[in-house]
């Protein structure tokens, strides 16, 4: 109260009594403090996130191999990008991969969460087993998956042979290579979705279900009208995170298939990496980075507005 009063009278900026002086000092200090607390973080964000983002636009308008001086070429990099079949293929791969992994991981995660939310024997242990792959690095995941799906000696083909089926060229045929990647991705993602859904399920008050039970609602109706709507924030969060993850997947694919066979599993981020660090075309790589950024931004805003609209209706 006293603090507010003192600040409210600018004419009296130097209070007379020592007590009031001290209060004035406390207030001034409190005003400055938050900026000091966030300064180191903001400095790092500025240097390593925001500046690079702006810099990407700058570099994308230039031709630059790192050794020579950058040469302004206008929108040439973007024009090239639109007529580059490999870029389109990598974009298509990214979209196919995202559409294959995002809904599936959310659906399986939800089913697992619903099941593991029941009072079952050893459910904590079961939960940990499903969650375990989340902590495993993408590189290790890729190495394990490459071994499991190895065309000749992999255990998947070994099991197929044992039950009398033909072995599949998991990693050396374009179609199955992408499929193997999707499986490896689901292995990691499902546990993450499960945990987020579990947390959301546990925050739903049981009184809703009691009331529905009294009204004679079936189990499906309860899910449809209570559980699913109340899970919407979790679904929304998972959708946004999963799409961003899928658009930026790099480690797993780089190590597991290297983008091959051919160009069949090369995603946009890997094409960016190749353009920049293999063919030294910084401008072209940056142009792709800019396009990818706009795509992610677009998807996020789209999901945001759809979520808003749904929320308004509900």
């Amino acid at each position: 109260m006293a603090v507010v009063e003192t600040l409210g009278r600018p004419a009296q900026s130097r209070p007379e009594t020592p007590a009031a002086q001290r209060r004035w000092w406390v207030a001034a200090r409190t005003k400055l403090t938050p900026y000091m607390f966030i300064a180191p973080n903001m400095a790092l964000f500025s240097v390593f996130v925001f500046f690079p983002l702006l810099y990407a636009f700058y570099v994308s308008l230039r031709e630059w191999s790192l050794i020579d001086t950058p040469r302004y070429v206008g929108l040439e990099n973007y024009e090239r990008l639109f007529s580059d079949p490999q870029f389109w293929q990598s974009l298509r791969n990214t979209l196919v991969y995202s559409f294959a992994t995002v809904p599936t991981s959310l659906a399986i995660g939800l089913v697992l969460a619903l099941a593991l939310n029941r009072d079952l024997i050893a459910r904590t242990f079961l939960r940990s087993l499903y969650f375990l792959p989340v902590v495993i690095s993408s590189v290790a995941t890729a190495v394990i998956a490459a071994w499991l799906f190895n065309d000749n000696y992999g255990v998947v083909n070994m099991l197929l042979r044992r039950v009398g089926l033909e072995p599949v060229a998991w990693l050396s045929s374009p179609r199955w290579a992408l499929f193997s990647l999707v499986i490896a991705t689901l292995w990691v993602r499902v546990g993450f979705c499960m945990v987020v859904y579990l947390a959301a399920l546990q925050s739903i008050s049981p009184t809703y279900y009691d009331a529905a039970e009294v009204d004679g609602a079936t189990r499906f109706q309860q899910f449809r009208h209570i559980t699913w709507p109340l899970l919407r924030p979790a679904t929304f969060l998972l959708l946004i995170l999963s799409v961003i993850y899928s658009f930026q997947v790099f480690d797993l694919i780089y190590v597991m298939t290297g983008g091959g066979p051919g160009f069949s599993t090369t995603m946009v981020v890997q094409y960016i990496y190749q353009a920049a660090f293999v063919s030294s075309e910084m401008g072209y790589a940056s142009a792709m980075g800019v396009v990818l950024f706009l795509l992610i931004l677009g998807f996020t805003l789209l999901q945001w507005s759809v979520n808003r609209r749904v929320e308004d209706v509900a």
């Binding site: 406390v26 200090r29 409190t30 403090t33 938050p34 900026y35 607390f37 180191p40 973080n41 903001m42 790092l44 964000f45 240097v47 390593f48 996130v49 983002l53 697992l112 099941a115 593991l116 029941r118 079952l120 087993l129 969650f131 375990l132 792959p133 989340v134 902590v135 690095s137 993408s138 590189v139 290790a140 890729a142 190495v143 394990i144 998956a145 490459a146 071994w147 190895n150 000696y153 042979r161 945990v195 987020v196 579990l198 947390a199 924030p233 979790a234 969060l237 961003i244 930026q248 480690d251 190590v255 981020v269 990496y273 920049a276 790589a285 940056s286 980075g289 990818l292 950024f293 992610i296």
Partner: protein, 281 residues
């Protein structure tokens, strides 16, 4: 009505049993890759290429591990990874706490705009800006330098988020009381706020360690000197160069997981809690 009631527990139990069996089968599938990695790592080498190896190795060749470690600079990689992860944890967790505290407990001009900045940092994947980021790191003279992989990730938007969510519930009166007592802002932070934040600190330490231990893209472009390679980079070149020595690759891969497996076993609760608090409310 009475009939329904007597019937229900039985039906429910049968249902639980069926669900349990399905879940257990699923869990077995989820765990199988990790088991198979172990089974491959300890097998006699020739058994790997028989194409019909049993589910359980015919004999356990523990010396495979020692051999892999001796043949590869695994110890070196591990030390590099540990140095990076530990320094990153100290810096990142400190900065996250400071920043999250400011967003949770202070009202100041530009707060919303700055928080929006944090939000958008969350949405910009490192791969999108990898080229300009590489140029910045190179301009700062941090190529082939541990700081080149630590500093760019030191500000972690997720961490700021989690801290903010957590600290909002610290009572303002407590901070006000300390202020009236004449405590400096820093000592309020370290003596009042930090001790109250132990749970979130534990979560941050675990997560940051995991993220930095598992990093790949940034170290790949920044650490050009093979002596500085991390475990993940080492695993990648192993996979590229020794595609046929699966026993060795699996042994190293398993060892690369060891820290995460240990942390996971002990802090499983915190992992779940941490993920649950990353923005669900």
């Amino acid at each position: 009505m009475a009939q329904v009631r007597s019937e229900r527990p039985w039906r429910r139990r049968a249902e639980d049993a069926a669900i349990w069996l399905l879940l257990a089968a699923g869990a077995a599938i989820m765990f199988f890759p990790v088991y198979w990695m172990f089974a491959t790592a300890v097998r006699p080498k020739d058994e790997v290429f028989s194409g019909s190896a049993g589910m359980i190795p015919s004999s356990f060749v523990w010396s495979n591990f020692g051999e892999a470690i001796n043949k590869m600079p695994f110890v070196n990689w591990t030390v590099n990874s540990l140095v990076i992860a530990v320094i990153a944890v100290v810096i990142t967790v400190t900065l996250n706490l400071l920043c999250g505290y400011a967003f949770a407990k202070f009202r100041f001009a530009g707060r919303n705009v700055l928080f929006l900045g944090v939000l958008s940092a969350l949405m910009i994947p490192i791969q999108v800006i990898i080229v300009p980021l590489f140029l910045v790191i190179s301009e700062l003279g941090l190529l082939s330098n541990y700081w080149g992989v630590i500093l760019p990730r030191a500000a972690e938007a997720f961490g700021i988020f989690m801290v903010r969510q957590f600290m909002v519930s610290i009572p303002d009166d407590l901070l006000e009381a300390a202020r009236i007592d004449g405590a400096s802002e820093l000592s309020i932070f370290f003596k009042v706020v930090v001790p109250l934040s132990k749970p979130i600190i534990a979560v941050l330490v675990i997560f940051t360690f995991m993220w930095r231990w598992n990093d790949f893209a940034l170290p790949l472009v920044v650490l050009m000197n093979q002596d500085m390679y991390t475990v993940q980079l080492g695993l990648n070149i192993l996979r590229g160069q020794y595609n046929t020595e699966w026993t060795m690759i699996m042994a190293i891969a398993l060892l690369s997981l060891a820290p995460m497996l240990v942390i996971f076993t002990f802090f499983q609760r915190y992992f779940v809690q941490g993920i649950a608090s990353t923005g669900l409310k």
